[in-house]
């Protein structure tokens, strides 16, 4: 009974996970092999949906858009909170550190939809941003931020500014707090500069946190589309179309559930691949670098 009891306690949680996470996952794989609208029409096509994906120009275009987010937004989401956490951790005043922590983390409680609507108002033609540019004499810079294909992606990425808060900051802070003081003092006594201490001591010891933040960032970027759906719906044209939004459209607007499931499978495989690659790249003992 002693060996069975932990399993019994875990059973409800595992049951919920199986029903609401794993079963849909497996069913999604099955759906990807069908041409179906989720209603009455269903026809087994094997790998037909995946073959169609290979020649779907819009699908590949969405990945090109996603690549831009990966190249720009992901580093910002990984590096900016790291810098912020380092700065907060280095503050001598605990009160100041607490204040900065609260200021950067508090925006998390604002519902995402509210944040999106605020930014939409900022980006409107007569919104805060264009008005501010007018006030400081930069009327030439005023534009339709979300309606211009050349600025829409930058506008969407900029929404996360300063990219330093949120759960990533807390993850890094926890990592910095776990670094033994003795090691830091030892390096100070050896005459190591601040940058040297960061590079050789802090960074290797918070490698697990960097790994987690990167993996989470990748997964979020692959799955996120809510802000794009509300702000631009993938437009103008298809300038801000990402794979997750394309999946949503095919599944719920076009009634192509099988095709959407196939896109979902591709995203799942990519998530897995990036996660494994990330774990491999950042693997290694979290030890101090030697000179």
């Amino acid at each position: 009974m002693g060996r069975v009891r932990p399993w019994v306690y875990l059973l409800p949680c595992v049951a919920v996970l199986v029903v609401f996470a794993y079963v849909p996952l497996v069913d999604g794989l099955r759906l990807a092999l069908y041409r179906t609208d989720g209603h009455g029409f269903s026809r087994f096509v094997g790998l037909g949906n995946f073959r169609e994906l290979l020649t779907d120009e819009l699908f590949w275009h969405s990945f090109r858009v996603l690549a831009i987010f990966f190249l720009v937004a992901l580093p910002l989401q990984v590096i900016c909170p790291l810098i912020a956490a380092k700065l907060i951790n280095g503050l001598r005043s605990t009160r100041a550190a607490y204040l900065y922590r609260v200021v950067l983390v508090l925006p998390m409680i604002v519902p995402l939809i509210v944040t999106i609507m605020i930014w939409r108002n900022i980006y409107m033609s007569d919104g805060a941003l264009n008005r501010f540019l007018g006030v400081i004499g930069l009327e030439a810079w005023q534009r339709s931020w979300l309606g211009d294909a050349s600025t829409v992606i930058a506008a969407l990425i900029f929404m996360g500014m300063p990219w330093a808060g949120g759960p990533n900051l807390l993850i890094y802070l926890a990592g910095f707090l776990n670094i033994p003081h003795e090691l830091r003092e030892a390096m100070e006594l050896d005459g190591a500069s601040g940058w040297r201490r960061f590079w050789s001591l802090d960074l290797p010891l918070i490698r697990p946190q960097v790994q987690i933040v990167t993996i989470l960032g990748i997964i979020v970027l692959l799955q996120a589309y809510e802000n794009i759906l509300i702000l631009t719906n993938g437009g103008p044209g298809s300038a801000s179309l990402v794979p997750a939004l394309y999946l949503f459209r095919n599944g719920f607007e076009y009634g192509r559930l099988g095709y959407a499931a196939a896109i979902g499978c591709v995203l799942f495989v990519l998530s897995l691949a990036f996660t494994l690659a990330n774990m491999r790249l950042l693997r290694g003992d979290a030890g101090v670098r030697e000179r």
Binding site: V8, H39, M124, S125, D126, L146, A149, G237, G255
Partner: protein, 512 residues
């Protein structure tokens, strides 16, 4: 001992609670609605302004037939997702009154709705016994409800007259008058634009209606001359008279005819000169508009008009009382911001406005406002007959009069015998022309409608020129016809298609 068993006790309690709740067993009422013993039929709509009238009609129906109909309202927000869940529940409401025809076509083609062609070809239980039910509808509303394959997935209930609400103060300042012709309207746009005012603010987004209404009206006018060439499978002795809407009353364009017309280039955007002409006319007007692609939601366009930042706002008859109320409120709370306003219908188009031959003038057909669908009920197949009978009553003179009398609605009743309310007249044209849906710029199924918007945005932004836009539109139309062909292959008459194409088969259908 008690402490060690605490976890077991909690788990046991959870299991017992789940068993007692039994969400997976037993019969459940229709999702979200109670079909109690009192109601024989449930009708749902989000048209709040029609609810009092519908309930009055339901009460009258109960008096006539003893059948209890429960009329329920639901919020407009997220109604598309609500409809989807209802239809998938297999126990949807018996009758649903929704907006437009896109969703009926989508769910009809998914075989979730009752097809109504046979029903409208027979007399109504509440109408004239010597003529089909379909004849009681105002022309061409029944044709508007047919999809690209000619199937009827919804019944017309209300139509809207679409026109322009204009800023009277802006007009008075420039000495403008409400236009009656196309050139006068463009002239007004130009005059406003030249004085730095915004003639009209449009948002090219998926929930935008203005530009699609505008384009649809132009498309229908330009393509009208092709009706005889497309409607080749017609009643014996049929002759098309564009000035008589009655001449198309029993006609429909099915998928076979559409495939033939597309292959012949009549409705192919790339080869038909009418689409290029449509773009020319759109540009003639739109060059004076302020076009937003994604920076503004279409729901905010009204605010732009009310703030005086747009001299025109294109909308329908339902907006008349809304704007009147808004203006009254504005006069009360901020009289300095209130302004005079007026309306005019989409102006008359004539041969002088197009480089191509045209027949007739402007039809105010930008789509149905309210249409009725009857979902299939796999668990209660007898409900369809009950629902159909109630719909016959609703669309009878008695039923529709009861609805419109009790409703604060200014939409045009789809029933011929019930005239529009006088307040709707400013947005109605006097002449209607014969109309059949030869082509639809947004394509022929739900996917093409969704895919239309990015290419429409690219054209408006200048990212694609006319040729590129028409090429993309061609691809979009071809893809939608192929999907419909694959879906309804069993209904397609291949011999007819080959005969009309000189023995040839369209290469875009090769191998399918």
């Amino acid at each position: 001992m008690m402490r060690r068993n605490w976890g077991l006790i909690l788990i046991a309690a959870l299991v017992v609670a789940l068993l007692l709740w039994q969400p997976w067993g037993g019969s459940t009422p229709a999702a979200g609605l109670s079909v109690g013993d009192e109601a024989d039929l449930v009708m749902v709509t989000f048209f709040g302004e029609l609810l009092p009238g519908l309930r009055a009609a339901a009460a009258l129906y109960r008096e006539h037939t003893g059948v209890e109909v429960l009329v329920q309202g639901m919020p407009y927000a997220s109604f598309e997702m609500w409809l989807r869940t209802q239809l998938l529940s297999q126990r949807p409401p018996g009758v649903i009154l929704i907006e437009g025809t896109q969703l009926p076509w989508f769910y009809g083609q998914a075989e979730l709705l009752v097809e109504l062609s046979e029903a409208v070809a027979a007399p109504s239980a509440f109408g004239a016994t010597d003529q089909p039910w379909g004849r009681s509808f105002r022309e061409p509303y029944l044709q508007l409800c047919r999809d690209a394959t000619g199937k009827l997935w919804c019944l017309p209930f209300t139509q809207f007259g679409v026109g322009f609400f204009y800023n009277g103060d802006a007009y008075a300042g420039l000495g403008l008058t409400p236009p009656e012709t196309w050139s006068e309207m463009v002239g007004n746009f130009r005059a406003l634009d030249e004085t730095g005012q915004t003639a009209m603010y449009v948002a090219i987004t998926r929930n935008d209606a203005q530009t699609v209404w505008f384009a649809s009206i132009l498309e229908e006018w330009l393509m009208r001359r092709h009706i005889p060439a497309v409607n080749v499978r017609h009643a014996p002795g049929w002759e098309f008279d564009p000035y008589d809407p009655q001449t198309v009353i029993d006609e429909r364009i099915d998928l076979d005819e559409r495939i033939v017309a597309f292959e012949q280039g009549i409705i192919d955007p790339l080869r038909s000169p009418d689409y290029a002409e449509l773009l020319r006319l759109m540009r003639e007007a739109a060059q004076h508009w302020k076009v937003e692609l994604a920076n503004i939601d279409v729901t905010e366009l009204e605010r732009v008009f009310l703030n005086g930042r747009s001299a025109h706002f294109m909308n329908g008859t339902w907006y008349l009382p809304v704007l009147a109320n808004r203006m009254e409120l504005l006069e009360e709370v901020a009289p300095e911001e209130a302004f005079g306003w007026g309306t005019f219908p989409f102006p008359e188009l004539g041969p002088e406005d197009s480089r191509l031959p045209t027949v007739g003038g402007t039809n105010q057909n930008a789509g149905m406002r309210g249409s009725i669908i009857i979902p299939k009920q796999p668990e209660r197949p007898e409900q369809a007959a009950v629902a159909l009978r109630f719909c016959q009553f609703l669309t009878s003179e008695t039923g529709m009069t009861a609805v419109m009398s009790g409703a604060a609605a200014f939409d045009i009743p789809a029933v011929k015998a019930v005239p529009p309310k006088p307040a709707a007249r400013p947005l109605l044209t006097g002449q209607s022309y014969a109309w059949l849906p030869v082509s639809t710029i947004t394509g022929y199924d739900a996917q093409s409608y969704g895919e239309f918007w990015p290419i429409w945005q690219r054209w408006f932004s200048g990212a694609s020129d006319d040729r590129a836009f028409l090429a993309e539109l061609h691809d979009l139309h071809v893809a939608s016809l192929v999907r419909l062909y694959e879906r309804f292959r069993g209904d397609v008459d291949a011999a007819f298609i080959r005969a009309r194409l000189g023995g040839q088969w369209p290469d875009w259908l090769e191998g399918r």
